[in-house]
Symmetry: C2
Subunit: 106 residues, 2 copies
DNA sequence: CTCGTAGTTCGAAGTTCGTCAAACATCGTA
DNA sequence: TACGATGTTTGACGAACTTCGAACTACGAG
């Protein structure tokens, strides 16, 4: 059963914690680039499948991503609308910061 | 010995992790309201002094706060200039989100 | 010098986190 | 029906985290 928090149940601390992990931040970045849905296995992360499942769960329960099942595929997308409504501008700034950090290579 | 990371050594993940704790987010909020420096003991947090010391250390090593010693007082302030230079707008959005969340009471 | 204030350091205890391997569930296809 | 692909669940493990109390350091005031 895939459960998502309601928009107004999304907690700032949960979002910050979810995005404070390198693997999960990377997932969010790739989702933002993609703009839409992506398969679980389509992310470039150096961890096993079960670890990915764990990270998706953290992101989902924090309200950062949305997931839906389609046959054997689990499609993942950013909850950009809900996040923008709840915490205006926050997601964009975090993603922008992540990109700049990646570019600078620090 | 109080050690601070250089501006360009501040890591996004570290900042997000530092602010994902309720006590530390509260500290950052109170510092933003104060605008300047504050004594360690002047924060309204329901934890002991040694726990506060720990949280200050996490914030300091993440680059969120600056601390300096003055006699027996340790004065703490936000590293707003460095954070804004490194991750433009990020701190403001997080603090704004924290305030809104507090107001709504969710 | 002694006392109180401000804050740190040092374990200890318990919790949460990130990771993996093994086994499992589900669907489409040969 | 059997197989391969996709992804989850469970259980384990060490590492990191949060918290506390007790002992400690450093300073100013009386």
């Amino acid at each position: 059963m895939i459960s998502h928090p309601e928009r107004n149940q999304i907690q700032l601390e949960g979002v910050l914690h979810a995005l404070s992990d390198p693997v999960r931040l990377r997932i969010a970045l790739e989702l933002a680039e993609a703009g839409g849905e992506r398969r679980c296995g389509s992310f470039e992360c150096a961890v096993t499948k079960s670890t990915m499942t764990h990270h998706f769960k953290v992101l989902r329960e924090a309200g950062v991503i949305r997931q839906r099942q389609e046959a054997t595929l689990r499609l993942t997308s950013l909850r950009r609308d809900d996040l923008d409504a709840r915490f205006p501008g926050l997601l964009d700034r975090i993603l922008q910061a992540a990109e700049e950090e990646a570019v600078v290579g620090a």
